[in-house]
């Protein structure tokens, strides 16, 4: 199968800051790509360009073979996105929000309600379906966001720290679900700082630093290429600027 998510030479600047610099990326159907990088490396900017939320300065993004810049509506029709932080109308109830999202993807109201209720039930928050989202905990909001991303049964999924706020049980459910979705042929781009989760569920990993790709391949392959045992060690070697233990000791002194 061809690449469901594809970026070629993507670049984006904010003023004088070059956030993403000529990035190439592709995620095949059935693949979960771990997208790693330190804070400010350009992960969220890349995801926003791929999902059509911002325009790249140069380069091309394609979702399910559709150019995001040329036909953004068609491209967005095949993707689901769980953003890193609150993208919910909190003055709506969970049921109202999911119904609205279903309508945006052309779903009938009854179908959207049925699917939404099923998601909420499986995530254990069906009792709260008619409560305003503003009264939800962080984990409950995250469950609504994940439900909204899956509601239209998208072929390409973008997940930016999807396990944020989830309890261990819900996190386990989501991790298992992602593997199943990939097995069924979806392409998933997974951003996270939790490296052991990335190692466990991702088939391939891309590490970016200062807007550029610095490593790519299977987690164990990246570790081997850099002469270390784990992905974490490779990540620190590729992106860390100082000895982490020394920094921690200095911070302790500063705290005291």
């Amino acid at each position: 199968m061809g690449a469901m998510i594809e970026a070629r030479g993507l670049s984006k600047s904010y003023g004088e800051l070059l956030a993403v610099d000529g990035l190439d990326l592709s995620v095949e159907a059935g693949e979960i790509l771990g997208f790693l990088g330190p804070n400010g490396a350009g992960k969220t900017t890349t995801v926003k360009m791929l999902t059509g939320m911002i325009q790249p300065a140069s380069g091309r993004a394609r979702i399910c073979g559709i150019d995001v810049s040329r036909d953004p509506v068609a491209a967005k029709q095949c993707l689901g996105y769980v953003p890193e932080s609150g993208a919910l109308y909190e003055s709506l109830s969970a049921a109202e929000f999911l119904r609205m999202i279903g309508s945006l993807y052309g779903m009938r109201r009854a179908d959207a309600d049925r699917r939404a209720d099923r998601f909420l039930e499986l995530f254990g928050i069906l009792d709260a379906r008619d409560r305003l989202i503003s009264g939800f905990s962080k984990g409950m909001k995250q469950k609504v966001l994940i439900s909204a991303a899956l509601l239209s049964n998208p072929q390409a999924l973008f997940l930016d720290e999807p396990l944020n706020g989830l309890d261990p049980n819900a996190a386990l459910v989501v991790k298992t679900l992602l593997r199943e979705l990939a097995d069924q042929g979806r392409a998933i781009l997974f951003c996270s700082h939790i490296l052991d989760v990335i190692e466990r569920i991702c088939t391939r990993v891309v590490i970016i630093h200062e807007g550029r790709q610095v490593a790519g391949g299977a987690p164990e392959q990246i570790a081997a290429e850099h002469g270390v045992e784990t992905l974490e060690d490779a990540f620190v070697q590729l992106t860390g600027v100082r000895d982490t233990e020394a920094v921690a000791r200095e911070l302790l002194v500063a705290v005291q």
Binding site: Y14, I54, Q55, P83
Partner: protein
């Protein structure tokens, strides 16, 4: 048969998406942003404020209807009613610009959804029309009835239709202007450009108000107005001409007006058809995160400024928000033309308006009083609402003295805004009264009342600066409710002053009572703020 799918489809939108988004965003706009528990506690107050808004706009509508009751033709009725509508709607939209052109929340929630720019424009347009349509209906409703009774039901239908088209044109014009700015101006300058546009649009807003001043004498005389000459420079005259044409008048002026009234929304719609998209909101977000060089220079300059004792925390916060929070800056700039207008209106008056002089006509001072009372109260109100409201956690999770922060924010408004504003007002009044001491005494009295109103606002609803999530309907309701009270107070000050000032005992007593009220409130407020703010919850 429902014509909406056909209309939305013909305009290039997706009907199903449009319906879902309109329904959701109207709910979002009208609902309070508080949590369920808080909503239960605040429900009564929200309902009360909503009723007060309705009553206020209803009073305005009845006033407009009464003024036009003896007008000699539908054009005159329409001109007065529609000019009032344009002023009110323009002001309410300027005060809540983010609800018109863009909403960063829309971008975050919908930016990756398959919604076309055309559908989004139609959604924003519909939601804004729904909010402002209620206000327009309240203002123009009584005039429509009067038009129907006096000039026939065709004239009434014409006026109602003209009001709808006028509202549509205003909303399209503002959307077009803001969307054009967002499209054309670089992210690094966008924040400033938006703020200056607010200043410019505020000045434009003054034009119809000055026309109103010219129009009022025609309502009292039997002389009818016709759509010709300088009146055609006033857009509301085009729509009044259309109403007059539907009502049966068929002159050249009416036909010209009708063409302009029908052409305006079409042209404005064409101009803004593909301008507004969810990316507009993203660009506005960007404008805050760049321009680091200029910000660091400002920080260095700010570091050299002399600190004002314990006010420095609150003043630093207010200055920082003014620099970086586009919405806050635009709200403050939006006040300038409003205040300038009332000043100009009072200054244009000829004859004695000095309340110390028996027999003076003090009514023209209404606008002056209104500006002096409204500006500080509105500014204090703007301090509470911010898109950075989540940063308010700092007040809730640190051992900060919340009562002191709230009080200091008010003191900042008094020190940086009210005092210079009063000095300017005193200079203007001194010129108008031709008596410096009279001007000073009057400004001090009205200034003290302004301070008292800010204290009262804090006493009734204690809040912390920049900790409230901005919600259009909440802000509009509060603004309207404040305007009811302030209008009444401003009307009463003039006659009372002209009664009290010439009587020394009354004059001294009045000053003593107002000053004591301010002092008493200042001593009572800290306890109240302490008690109430201790239990305040963060809105994040």
């Amino acid at each position: 048969m429902n014509p909406a799918p056909g209309v939305i489809g013909a305009l290039g939108g997706d009907y199903r998406q449009w319906r879902a988004l309109v329904r959701a965003l109207i709910q979002v706009g009208f609902r309070s942003s508080l949590s369920t528990e808080q909503m239960t506690q605040q429900g009564k107050r929200t309902r009360l404020v909503s009723w007060m808004t309705g009553i206020f706009l209803g009073i305005v509508g009845v006033y407009v209807g009464a003024m036009t009751a003896f007008a000699t033709g539908p054009f005159t009725v329409g001109l007065f009613a529609l000019t009032t509508v344009s002023i009110a709607v323009f002001f309410l939209l300027l005060a809540n610009f983010q609800a018109v052109a863009i909403s960063p929340m829309d971008y975050r929630a919908l930016g990756h959804r398959p919604v076309s720019p055309r559908t989004y424009l139609l959604v924003r347009l519909t939601v804004t029309l729904a909010h402002q349509g209620i206000n327009t209906g309240l203002i123009v409703g009584p005039s429509v009835v009067i038009c129907g009774v006096r000039f026939g039901w065709l004239a009434a239908i014409g006026l109602a239709l003209a009001a709808g088209l006028l509202l549509l044109s205003i909303v399209l014009a503002l959307i077009g202007i803001y969307a054009w700015l967002i499209e054309k101006v670089g992210a690094s300058r966008l924040g400033r450009a938006m703020a200056y546009s607010q200043l410019f649009l505020g000045a434009v807003y003054l034009v119809p108000v000055l026309f109103m001043d010219e129009l009022t004498p025609y309502l009292r005389s039997m002389e009818g107005l016709a759509p010709e000459g300088w009146w055609l420079a006033l857009p509301s005259a085009w729509f009044a001409g259309l109403a007059s044409l539907i009502g049966g008048a068929g002159g050249t002026g009416q036909w010209l007006c009708a063409a302009l009234a029908l052409g305006a929304p079409v042209a404005l719609g064409w101009a803004s058809r593909d301008r507004l998209s969810l990316a507009s909101a993203q660009k506005l977000d960007e404008s805050v995160s760049v321009d680091t060089d200029r910000q660091s220079k400002r920080r260095r300059r700010a570091g050299k400024r002399k600190r004002l004792g314990r006010l420095s925390v609150a003043s630093g916060l207010i200055r920082g928000q003014f620099r970086h929070d586009t919405q806050f800056r635009m709200s403050v700039f939006g006040l300038v033309p409003l205040v300038a207008f009332y000043f100009i209106l009072a200054m244009r008056n000829t004859g004695s308006v000095d309340p110390f002089v028996p027999g003076s006509s003090v009514w023209p001072l209404f606008g002056f009083h209104f500006a002096l009372l409204l500006a500080p109260t509105m500014l204090l109100e703007q301090l509470y609402w911010s898109t950075s409201y989540r940063a308010g956690w700092i007040f809730f999770s640190t051992p900060v003295d919340r009562a002191r922060v709230a009080a200091d924010a008010r003191h900042c408004v008094t020190l940086y805004f009210v005092v210079p504003f009063l000095a300017l007002a005193a200079a203007c009044l001194a010129w108008l009264f031709e008596a410096v001491w009279h001007a000073l005494a009057h400004v001090v009295l009205v200034g003290l009342l302004g301070v008292f109103l800010m204290q009262a606002s804090q006493y009734l609803w204690p809040r912390l600066p920049f900790t409230m999530r901005p919600v259009q309907s909440r802000q509009t309701r509060l603004l309207s409710a404040q305007m009811v009270g302030l209008s009444l107070m401003s009307v009463l000050i003039g006659p009372y002053a002209s009664f009290a000032y010439p009587r020394p005992a009354w004059a001294i007593g009045t000053f003593a009572v107002v000053a004591s009220g301010v002092v008493l409130m200042e001593t009572r407020l800290p306890r109240r703020l302490n008690r109430r703010l201790r239990w305040l919850e963060a809105e994040g």
